[in-house]
């Protein structure tokens, strides 16, 4: 297994917002999902994820609610706010622009 790429700074928010859009969940699960859905290419460690979630919450892009999991554990479930959905759209667009420009540079082989 190739070692997971370090997350490019700035992309974690986008990933988190996107995953929360498709389904609200907690931090721990989010980390698992990121790894799973990227087929182990991406990996986020807890020390990056939790602070990122706080930042998003402070900015009003996500909201948190303590809930019980089906196994009886407490978990802080995050979901997108309206502002979060908006931010997701603009971050998606920004990523598309950036990735497009970079791959254009790389393709002029």
């Amino acid at each position: 297994m190739a070692k997971p790429a370090p997350l490019l700074q700035g992309t974690l928010d986008l990933i988190v917002l996107e995953l929360l859009r498709s389904e609200p969940t907690n931090g721990y699960d989010l980390a698992q999902r990121i790894q799973a859905v990227s087929r182990d290419v991406l990996q986020v460690n807890a020390g990056s994820l939790y602070p990122a979630l706080y930042r998003l919450e402070e900015r009003g892009l996500v909201k948190a609610a303590w809930k019980e999991t089906d196994t009886g554990r407490r978990a802080k479930v995050y979901s997108l706010t309206a502002a979060g959905r908006k931010a997701l759209e603009s971050q998606r667009a920004e990523w598309a622009r950036f990735a497009g420009a970079l791959s254009h540079i790389l393709k002029r082989a």
Copy 2:
């Protein structure tokens, strides 16, 4: 004109290596090229570029040589070393992996 996206941390090296591969040049010109070839999507700050060039030189990925431009100005012309070409290949691959994974996440709309 949309304002240029901030460079994602870690991608500047890749861009620089790629542009130097296709043609050795100096820092100032490099900055212009990045903007031009990305159609103004990408833009590098001098305060980012010069330190980046030093780092690349320290790591032995590029080498510098003072030359005179055709207009009689001194300029530090950077070119890729063999190690630089190797590093470029692996950074291209890493970018492809990362961008692929991320766009995969975003496409499961």
